[in-house]
Symmetry: C2
Subunit: 260 residues, 2 copies
């Protein structure tokens, strides 16, 4: 680890990572705050760790795999930060590369996102995927960018463990051997459906649901029933909430299957 100064060029590069174009050119992204930075630290290589002297004094024992350390005043971090309340640490990590995992999808449970556009929703989904042991999420190319600062903060560090891949989703799903589940208003009650331990669960766009092309690749249509079933309610659940309920039910069944 090398101690360096914060130059104007470096300042410009780090703030530039707020745009998708720069993130992909540099293959780097920014994480902010103690919890988020420390969760990712050690899982992904850190290009720049920018912190106050106090922060580094307190947390240096947890710092690992860092190329460059930059100690600055809190005011400097605020200038680099995308957060309303900047914390005393911010880090630039190299993006993980895990394309090989996509060719191995013949067992396990995965998520596929068809044009999920809100960064907060995507972050929530990555975080719950981690909680439920889902290692990979396959996204349509028009889904939000997983390395957008708003997504990174909402994942609470889960990006270190969960791989997020961008593909032609309809084509990908047509060629996969696992069962493909999707939630639809005319689907079968989730709690009365047979759910396999392995599979891909497709979640759709916030306003429009699953696109026609992707829907054609869905082999099993399910529905989260309102309570009591059939009563008047909001038209739909938030996509993060619907994903959570569906994944939790798959995992509950899978634990029960192993026990029986």
């Amino acid at each position: 680890m090398e101690n360096i100064d914060l130059t104007n060029a470096l300042r410009k590069m780090i703030t530039g990572l707020g745009t998708a174009k720069k993130r992909h050119a540099e293959q780097c992204f920014v994480a902010e705050g103690t919890r988020c930075v420390l969760e990712i630290m050690g899982h992904l290589r850190c290009r720049y760790l920018v912190s106050t002297a106090d922060w580094y004094g307190e947390w240096s024992c947890r710092v690992a795999d860092v190329e460059h350390l930059i100690i600055v005043a809190q005011g400097e971090i605020a200038r680099l930060s995308q957060q309303k309340s900047p914390q005393p640490v911010l880090a630039v990590f190299y993006m993980p590369h895990r394309p090989e995992r996509l060719s191995e999808l013949n067992e396990g449970l995965y998520l596929a996102l068809d044009c999920v556009q809100d960064p907060g929703n995507l972050g929530t989904i990555i975080r719950l995927a981690d909680w439920f042991g889902i290692t990979d999420i396959i996204c349509s190319r028009d889904t939000a960018d997983a390395f957008n600062p708003k997504v990174v903060q909402a994942t609470m560090g889960a990006l270190a463990r969960v791989g997020v891949h961008y593909v032609n989703l309809a084509e990908f799903l047509r060629n996969v051997s696992l069962p493909v589940y999707g939630t639809f208003l005319n689907g079968e009650n989730l709690y009365e459906s047979e759910l396999s331990t392995d599979g891909i669960i497709v979640m759709g766009n916030e306003g429009n649901g699953i696109s026609t092309e992707v829907a054609e690749a869905v082999t099993r249509r399910i529905l989260i029933p309102p309570f009591p079933d059939g009563r008047q309610t909001v038209e739909s659940l938030n996509v993060g909430v619907a994903t959570a309920i569906t994944v939790a039910e798959f995992r509950r069944r899978s634990v029960n299957t192993k026990r029986n």
Copy 2:
């Protein structure tokens, strides 16, 4: 319904409803967009309906219980709007008053929120409460305001059906006869716990969970297990996600109980 003009005083009053103080003084709140306005329309009395002539032409058949109609150009709505992409309709509704419901909590399933601070999370929770037939949510006084414009938009109209009450939560829970559930890291596995059909489920603050004082009123501690149980993961789930998984499991059991 009376057709009136948009005066400066009215403009000021409507934009003023962006603050909690003005909302409580007027006992009114703002909802924006076709879906949100029409969901609430008819459930709550509408003080002002502000729309373009085109919008009114298309939707007048769905308009009900409106005191004053104000037809303006789209640019006028944009000046009143709190949204990034203003829609051609915005409405001021009277807040519902349902304090009597609180004295009737001796059966049914309810949510209690202990200092949930993010408006998006509160909106998501109100929306899923509606989906799962939860009629009332009891909040600590430091929980976000349910009539904050960000909350109203995130509820997708569910505020019309779900009552949100602000009380001294610890005191309220100590005096209630229903079982009080809460999620804790040292709680019992949700899927292995006995869950009653009636009860109150307490969800805590985004960063700190349930406060000590409220925790003392919780009679049954539960935990959403990660998968596989015991592996390293993010420290917690988003509060909207955790609420969704917990409520869905209560409702699933309750349907199963009725069947058996």
